[in-house]
């Protein structure tokens, strides 16, 4: 009996066609990620520049003992808005990204800038008596549903208080030495935790309670 079999070449052809489809898909994904990453890189550079500017202004005001708080306030406010946008962009990436390495670097840079801005704001609050509430928010990226909830609560408050509230979300797993130092200083052991006026609050802090802590700073 003449036996018909599946032509063995089909297995090979199918392999290469699938490979082509697959690689095309990967390239598109890579290209899309790459363009987002370069956009984030661009924004990071911008923020870096404005922070340098603000630091210089701060130094100038402190040195000659003149205070132009309005200008400084405006600069810090703009930096904070930019940082928030950057945070949203970074968060839109999943953990499973092709460019996870360069994303990790960007996250480190972002955290670094965030802490710098925090120091700036604290200094400004002291010297200008600015009406700004600040919250340090420590969280963990993986397996922390409570962190998602606390993040939502803080974002909702941010919508309410807008420029009067500045939140500094610090990812405990990012390799920035300063995060470790802050965690040590405030004795952060569990996540989520927030620090307001130098005091640590563990677990999910409700919207009302955080609201009270904000008003305490604004009065």
């Amino acid at each position: 009996m003449e036996k018909r079999v599946v032509r063995s070449k089909i297995y090979v052809e199918a392999f290469f066609i699938s490979l082509a489809i697959f690689i095309a898909g990967l390239l598109i994904g890579y290209y899309l990620e790459k363009s987002s990453v370069s956009e984030i890189e661009e924004r990071t550079k911008e923020i870096e520049r404005s922070i340098r500017q603000a630091e210089l202004e701060m130094l100038y005001f402190q040195t000659i003992n003149a205070s132009d708080c309005a200008t400084l306030n405006e600069v810090v406010r703009r930096i904070n808005i930019n940082l928030d946008e950057l945070a949203a962009k970074l968060a839109s990436f999943s953990e499973d990204a092709l460019l996870s390495k360069s994303l990790e670097e960007l996250k480190e840079k972002y955290t670094y800038l965030l802490i710098k801005n925090w120091i700036l704001v604290e200094k400004m609050k002291e010297s200008c008596k600015s009406q700004i509430a600040t919250i340090l928010y420590f969280y963990k990226r993986k397996n922390c549903d409570d962190c998602l909830i606390q993040g939502n609560i803080l974002s909702a408050l941010k919508l309410k208080y807008k420029e009067k509230l500045m939140i500094f979300p610090l990812d405990s797993e990012v390799k920035v030495e300063m995060v470790k130092i802050l965690m040590g200083k405030y004795n952060i052991t569990s996540f989520p935790s927030i620090v307001v006026l130098g005091k640590k609050y563990e677990g999910i802090v409700s919207k009302e309670e955080v609201g009270k802590l904000i008003l305490q700073q604004l009065s």
Partner: protein, 408 residues
């Protein structure tokens, strides 16, 4: 979920679909080349019936209406243990021979009929299936090849009233393409009761067996084992009555899939014969299933993260009023739309589903069943019906593993 694992599994899914598509493109011609029969052999059609008073007349009418020399066609109805008026209905047809036996069981009835059959070719027809006029004449041609032991046809469903029967209609259409391809490579192995023809000497040697739940598969495999091939042809059409309720569908499927497993075990030696040693026939059968299974699996992963985030949102309602959450979602639009944490998984399911969709559309086109309603049902078919089928397969394997005795 690691990204690499996701990539590997999706590559397999894409590969299966591409492979199937290539194979189909190479074997586009629907009717295989055949040596034609010179004269018409005598045919005995066996119709086992157990409480089939509702369907039997229609079935017999379709058989008597067959375009085939009357002298060469014998029709035998075996009424096994009917408690209704099946026999009375059959008696009205003078050309039909009626045998009544007290025992239940399709295999027993068929063996009883086989004893009485005089034809050179035996036809097996369920009492709830009907045949089209040209069916027998088209099928008989294939016996011109001495190596053909059995011939089967293109099964369609007789009603498409509700969703479950419409979905089965699609399933029968789609599986017809796989069957055709398997048959093209001489590795087809089922003789269903929608008029299957077998050489009488062959089937008399083998006999019908009740040792598995699906005697049609058992017989088919026995025929193949003896070195004959079974041809599945697309041109002749038969109609089968399908379950139109989920419960009866479920029972039927459990029986089929358990029967499949039982027969695989019973005829395991056949898998290792030279004829079945090529990967081809196996891949044809699983290609459609498997690619979609992967698609569903990846989609489920997506939905897992979706629901996970959804529950987190519900939990956060304890701490944050819903109005705040809505405001937040509006403020974060459009990124709040993407609750899902695996954008790649979405792309992958999209690729797999669209390639499966392409195969399905092609099938519908080949069988001239292309209409908008069917096309619109395809997504439901792929996502929901396949999930159900997989569930039943899973259950069947478990039931077989624990040797569950109860008849479904």
């Amino acid at each position: 979920m690691s990204l690499i694992g996701l990539f590997i599994i999706s590559f397999i899914g894409i590969y299966l679909n591409v492979w199937f598509l290539l194979l189909f493109l190479e074997n586009r011609n629907l009717s295989p080349k055949i040596k034609k029969v010179k004269s018409f052999p005598s045919v005995s059609i066996l119709i086992p019936a157990h409480n089939e008073e509702k369907n039997i007349s229609k079935t017999i009418n379709s058989v008597l209406n067959l375009d085939y020399p009357k002298k060469k066609l014998e029709v035998i109805v075996i009424d096994n243990a009917s408690t209704d008026k099946t026999s009375e209905k059959v008696k009205k047809f003078k050309r039909v021979k009626l045998i009544r036996i007290p025992e239940k069981g399709k295999a027993i009835a068929l063996n009883e009929g086989l004893k009485r059959a005089k034809g050179e070719i035996i036809g097996i027809l369920d009492a709830d299936s009907t045949v089209t006029k040209s069916c027998l004449k088209e099928m008989i041609k294939y016996f011109g090849d001495e190596k053909v032991g059995g011939v089967t046809n293109f099964i369609k469903v007789n009603e498409k009233k509700n969703l479950i029967s419409k979905l089965q209609h699609i399933e029968y259409l789609l599986s017809a393409l796989s069957k055709k391809l398997v048959s093209d490579f001489d590795t087809y192995f089922i003789l269903p009761g929608t008029l299957s023809l077998v050489r009488a000497d062959l089937v008399k040697k083998i006999g019908f067996s009740s040792s598995t739940l699906t005697e049609d598969l058992d017989l088919g495999l026995e025929v193949v084992k003896r070195g004959y091939k079974i041809v599945n042809c697309i041109k002749p059409v038969s109609y089968t009555k399908i379950p139109n309720k989920l419960k009866t569908w479920f029972k039927q499927r459990i029986r089929w899939y358990r029967g499949f497993i039982q027969n695989t075990i019973k005829h395991k030696d056949l898998i290792f014969t030279k004829r079945f040693s090529t990967l081809g026939w196996f891949l044809i059968i699983i290609a459609g299933y498997f690619a979609i299974t992967i698609g569903i699996y990846v989609t489920l992963l997506n939905f897992y993260s979706f629901f996970h985030n959804f529950f987190v949102m519900l939990r956060s309602a304890n701490f944050l009023p819903l109005t705040d959450q809505i405001n937040l979602a509006i403020a974060n639009f459009p990124s709040s739309l993407f609750f899902f944490s695996h954008p790649y998984a979405w792309v992958i399911s999209l690729i797999i589903f669209s390639s499966s969709f392409a195969i399905f559309l092609l099938t519908l086109k080949v069988f001239r069943s292309f209409n908008l309603k069917t096309v619109l049902l395809l997504p439901i078919y792929m996502l929901i019906y396949y999930s159900l089928v997989m569930l039943v397969w899973f259950l069947s394997i478990i039931l077989e593993a624990v040797r569950w005795k109860k008849e479904w």
